[in-house]
C-alpha cells in the first residue's frame, strides 16, 4: 500500500549520512516501521545511566542537547539538530546510555527501531564504514575546532580518553554504607568493621549523619589507651562528617578530601548533613578511579616550602591546562581545577609568610582574592587582586596590628609575584594600606560604594563584589557578606550604576556584523576578547546576581546558571550567556597558550572561518543581556 508519510520520511533521511548510501526502497521500509515523536523543550529523550532503548533517533526538526552529569552539574557536550543521529550507543554497547539527551527546543524526532536498521549495517558497506569512522574519530564534538561535520552523537566520544574523562565522571562509591548510633559501644562497631572489612562507619542520629568512626579514630583514640574499648561511639567519633552530593566527580572528591584533610566523605541525598545517607566515598575509591592527576599538584603545593617550589606547581598547571584543552575537557571543569590549585598556592604562600614573620598574627583575619581570581576564572597567568580584613581591635593597638598585616601581605604578594602572578597594575593588593584594614573600616568602605556610587569608583568597586575568602576566619567573611546583603537590598541607585558600568564596554561587532578590532597601539588589528566579550558577560552576571542577593555566587558561569533557575522566564537567555561565556573562555585560553600571554587579544586572521562564526555566535546573548539590563534597571535615568 502507498504511504506518502513514509515516503516523506524516507526522502528526509536520504539527505543525511549514513542513510544517503541506502536505496529509497530500503529507506521506505525502514520509515514504515519507524515512529515520529514530539519533545517539548527540556523534555528528556534518554538519561545517562538509563538502559538503552530499542530505538535510535534522528532529529527531524528542533535541537537536542547531549550532556554529561557530574558534580551534580550538567555539562553540555553536544547539540544535535536536523539530520543528526543520536542514541546509537546500543549498537556498540548493550548497557546504559552515557549521556543525557534533552530537547533544547520543541523538537520532532524520528525514532528508528535498531532491529530494523541492523541488517543494513552488515549488508551496506557504506553504512558500516560511516558508523565505524565516526565511532573511531569521535568527530561529533563541539569543542573540536578542526572537525565540524554532521556525525553521530552519543557514541564513544570519550572512548580513547577514558583516563582523562574518568576523572570528571561520577565516582563509584559504596552505596548503603554501614551505620551505627551514638550510643553504640565502640568494640561492637570495631567488630562490625572487621567482619565486613570496611574502614569506616557513619554515626547517625535521627537518620542523619553526624559523625564518622574510622580506622584512624580506633588507632589514635582506642589503641593508644586514650579511651576504653567499652566507650560509646559519640566519645571518639570525628564530627562533623564531611557530606557531599550524589554524582560527585572523582576530581571533586579528591579536592574535598585534601581540603578537609579527611579520608572519607559521606554521600547524602542533597549533599548536606540534613538529609539521608546514601553512600560513602573512601580515599581508596579515589585512588582506584585514577592514577595520575591534578590532585597530585595540590599535594605538592601543600608540601612546598618556598616560592620556587610553588612556581614548579604553577608551571606544571599550565601543562595541565594545555593537556585538558587538547583533550576537550569542558572549560568549566578546567577552571574549577585551576582555581583550586591557585587557591592552594595562595594559601601556602600565606602560611609560609606567617612562618617567616616569626610571630603569629596579632588578630584574626581573612585573605580574599577579588576580581577574576575571586570569580575563579583565571586560567592562565593573571594579575593579583587581593585584600585583607582583620578583626576589630582596640584603637591604640590599631597601628601595630595594621603594620603587621601590611608586612605579612607584602611578603605574600612578593612571593606570589615570584611564582608568576603579576602585581596588580592598579595596586589593588593587600599590601596597600587602602586595602588592608579592619572589619569596621571595610564595612564603611562597602557602604560608601553601595550607598553613594560614583561613576569613577564603580569600576573599582565591582572588583570587590567578586570575592573569594580563601584564608582565615570564616566569621569575618560572614559579617562582611551579611552587611553587603543588607545594604544592597532595594538600593536602586547602586544597581543603576552597576548596570550602567556593565554597558560601558565597547561593542564586539560593527554595523555590518564585522569584528571591531583595536585601532592602534601594541595590539593593533587584534580583537580584545576580554574587554568586548568576557567582561560584558561578567559585569551583567554580577549586577543581576547581586540584585537577587546572590552574594555568595561569584563565578560568571555559576551566576548565570543560578539566575536561570531563579528566573524561568529568562532561562534560555541566561543559559545561552553561560554557554557563550565558556566558549569565550576557551578561545581566550587557547590564544593564551599559543601566544604565551593572558590571551586577551585574539588574532582573527589565525582563526578558521568556523571559529570566527562560533565567536560571533557568542555575541548575540551579549546584546540580549544588555537589553535586559537597560529595561530592568531603567538606565534612562542616569547618563
Amino acid at each position: 500500500m502507498k504511504n506518502p508519510v513514509a515516503e516523506n520520511v524516507a526522502k528526509f533521511l536520504k539527505h543525511f549520512p549514513p542513510f544517503s548510501s541506502m536505496t529509497f526502497e530500503e529507506l521506505f521500509s525502514i520509515a514504515n516501521l519507524s515512529k515520529i515523536i514530539y519533545l517539548e523543550k527540556n523534555q528528556i529523550l534518554f538519561k545517562g545511566g538509563e538502559e538503552t532503548h530499542e530505538n535510535f533517533y534522528v532529529v527531524k526538526s528542533g535541537a537536542v542537547g547531549l550532556s554529561l552529569t557530574s558534580d551534580a552539574e550538567e555539562t553540555l557536550v553536544d547539540k544535535c539538530d536536523e539530520g543528526d543521529i543520536l542514541g546509537l550507543r546500543p549498537f556498540f554497547a548493550k548497557n546504559h546510555y552515557l549521556m543525557t539527551a534533552k530537547a533544547r527546543e520543541d523538537s520532532i524526532i524520528c525514532s528508528v527501531p535498531i532491529a530494523v536498521f541492523e541488517p543494513y549495517i552488515t549488508e551496506n558497506k557504506e553504512v558500516l564504514k560511516f558508523l565505524l569512522q565516526s565511532f573511531a574519530s569521535h568527530t561529533r564534538n563541539p569543542y573540536d575546532k578542526e572537525h565540524s561535520g554532521k556525525l553521530i552523537s552519543e557514541n564513544m566520544i570519550f572512548a580513547e580518553h577514558t583516563t582523562d574523562i574518568q576523572y570528571f565522571q561520577p565516582i563509584k562509591y559504596t552505596k548503603n554504607p554501614v551505620t551505627a548510633n551514638l550510643d553504640d559501644v565502640v568494640m561492637y562497631i570495631a567488630k562490625t568493621m572487621s567482619t565486613s572489612s570496611i574502614g569506616s562507619v557513619i554515626i547517625q542520629k535521627d537518620q542523619l549523619p553526624i559523625g564518622i568512626v574510622t580506622d584512624r579514630d580506633l588507632r589514635s583514640k582506642i589503641a593508644t589507651g586514650l579511651f576504653p574499648i567499652t566507650i560509646t561511639a559519640d566519645k571518639i567519633m570525628t564530627a562533623p562528617v564531611i557530606t557531599v552530593p550524589e554524582n560527585i566527580s572523582v576530581a571533586e572528591a579528591q579536592m574535598l578530601m585534601l581540603k578537609y584533610n579527611v579520608g572519607h566523605l559521606c554521600v547524602t541525598k542533597d549533599g548536606t548533613d540534613k538529609s539521608q545517607v546514601t553512600g560513602i566515598i573512601s580515599e581508596h575509591d579515589v585512588v582506584a578511579a585514577q592514577a595520575n592527576t591534578p590532585g597530585m599538584l595540590l599535594k605538592q603545593t601543600r608540601r612546598a616550602f618556598d616560592a620556587k617550589e610553588l612556581k614548579v606547581v604553577r608551571d606544571r598547571m599550565t601543562e595541565l591546562i594545555q593537556n585538558s584543552i587538547d583533550k576537550n575537557i569542558p572549560v568549566s571543569h578546567i577552571t574549577n581545577i585551576v582555581a583550586e590549585i591557585n587557591i592552594a598556592i595562595t594559601r601556602r604562600a600565606i602560611e609560609l609568610a606567617i612562618q617567616e614573620m616569626g610571630a603569629p598574627a596579632p588578630a584574626r583575619f581573612v585573605w580574599l582574592n577579588i576580581g577574576s581570581q575571586g570569580r575563579k576564572e583565571q586560567l592562565l597567568l593573571t594579575d593579583q587582586d587581593n585584600a585583607l580584613i582583620f578583626e576589630d581591635i582596640d584603637s591604640n593597638e590599631y597601628e601595630t596590628v595594621k603594620s603587621y598585616f601590611l608586612v605579612l601581605a607584602d611578603k605574600v604578594v612578593r612571593m606570589l609575584n615570584n611564582v608568576g602572578y603579576e602585581m596588580s597594575p592598579d595596586d589593588v593588593m593587600a599590601n596597600n594600606p587602602k586595602w588592608c584594614k579592619s572589619v569596621t573600616d571595610w564595612i564603611k568602605q562597602y557602604n560608601i560604594w553601595i550607598n553613594s556610587p560614583e561613576e569613577k569608583t564603580v569600576q573599582l568597586s565591582t572588583l570587590f563584589f567578586d570575592m573569594d575568602f580563601l584564608y582565615g576566619t570564616p566569621e569575618i567573611e560572614q559579617v562582611i557578606t551579611d552587611n553587603i546583603e543588607k545594604s544592597i537590598q532595594q538600593n536602586k541607585k547602586f544597581f543603576a550604576y552597576l548596570a550602567a558600568d556593565a554597558l560601558k564596554n565597547p561593542a564586539p561587532l560593527g554595523f555590518f556584523r564585522q569584528f571591531l578590532v583595536e585601532n592602534d597601539g601594541e595590539h593593533k588589528d587584534t580583537f580584545d576578547i576580554k574587554n568586548r566579550a568576557l567582561e560584558p558577560l561578567g559585569d551583567a552576571a554580577r549586577v543581576l546576581a547581586l540584585s537577587h542577593n546572590l552574594v555568595d555566587f561569584t563565578g560568571t558561569y555559576q551566576r548565570f546558571k543560578k539566575l536561570a533557575e531563579l528566573e524561568p522566564e529568562n532561562e534560555e537567555l541566561y543559559t545561552n550567556c553561560a554557554d557563550a561565556f565558556n566558549v569565550l573562555m576557551r578561545f581566550r585560553t587557547e590564544e593564551g597558550l599559543i601566544s604565551n600571554s593572558d590571551g586577551r587579544y585574539l588574532n582573527l586572521k589565525e582563526l578558521s572561518k568556523s571559529d570566527r562564526l562560533k565567536l560571533k555566535n557568542c555575541f548575540q546573548p551579549i546584546n540580549e543581556i544588555h537589553d535586559l539590563l537597560k529595561n530592568r534597571f531603567s538606565l534612562t535615568y542616569i547618563n
Binding site: V5, L33, Y38, D106
Partner: protein, 201 residues
C-alpha cells in the same frame, strides 16, 4: 431488507466486526490508540457534498506510527466541476474505490481508536452521512478536535474557528505537504502530539 439492518439481525459482517471492538472493557486497554485523519470533500455542506479522499495515521504511546497509515480515494458518481478544484490529485479511476468500499476499509482501519481531526464535526458528519447511505448507524468512536484543544491551550473563552495553518504557525510546526488528505492528517497528528503534551492529556 433495509429494515433488517436496523433491527440488528442482518447487519453486514464488517459492521459487526466494527461494533465488536467497542464491546471490550475499557479498563483493559493499556495502550490507547488514536487515529488522526483528514478528508477532502466536494464542499462544506454535509448534506449534499461527498467525500473525495481520506488520509489517516495512528498514534500510540505519544508516537506517530508511520506504518499505521491509511489512505483512500473515492470514485465520484456524479461529476461536479466544482469539486475538481478541491482535489489537486486527479487519480486514475482504477486507483479509486466506491464510497461503500472506502467506508468499509476506513472502519476496519480505525477500529475503536479515538478519532482526532481539525474541526472534526464536519468530517464526522460526512462519514455518518456515508454510513446512512449504507443504512447503518453512526460512528461509535470517541473523538477529539485539535481546534478545540488549541482553544483550550490558548485559554480562549468563546469558540473561535482557527484554521490548521494558523495553528501550525502558533505551534511552529512546518506546514509541509498540506495539499493532500494524508499530508494534512500527518500535520494534524504533529499538532495533536504537541497539544497533547502541552495540555498534559
Amino acid at each position: 431488507m433495509a429494515l433488517d439492518w436496523l433491527i440488528g439481525t442482518n447487519l453486514p459482517q464488517f459492521w459487526k466486526n466494527y461494533l465488536t471492538h467497542f464491546e471490550k472493557d475499557d479498563n483493559h486497554e493499556v495502550h490507547k490508540r488514536y487515529v488522526v485523519f483528514d478528508m477532502e470533500t466536494s464542499g462544506l455542506n454535509w448534506k449534499d457534498d461527498v467525500i473525495l479522499s481520506i488520509g489517516a495515521i495512528g498514534i500510540n504511546d505519544n508516537a506517530i506510527e508511520i506504518g499505521d497509515f491509511f489512505e483512500i480515494f473515492i470514485k465520484q458518481e456524479k461529476f461536479n466541476s466544482h469539486s475538481v478544484a478541491f482535489s489537486d490529485v486527479i487519480k486514475d479511476d482504477d486507483e479509486k474505490f466506491v464510497e461503500a468500499e472506502a467506508i468499509i476499509q476506513f472502519l476496519n482501519f480505525i477500529k475503536d481508536a479515538t478519532l482526532v481531526s481539525h474541526n472534526i464535526n464536519l468530517d464526522l458528519e460526512m462519514i455518518n452521512q456515508a454510513l446512512k447511505r449504507l443504512e447503518l448507524g453512526r460512528l461509535k468512536n470517541t473523538f477529539m478536535d485539535t481546534n478545540a484543544l488549541f482553544q483550550r491551550w490558548q485559554h480562549h473563552v468563546q469558540d473561535t474557528q482557527v484554521s490548521l495553518d494558523e495553528v501550525c504557525d502558533a505551534l511552529k510546526i512546518k506546514k509541509s505537504d498540506r495539499l493532500t488528505a494524508s499530508g494534512n492528517a500527518y500535520t494534524t497528528a504533529l499538532v495533536f502530539l504537541k497539544l497533547k503534551s502541552k495540555l498534559g492529556i
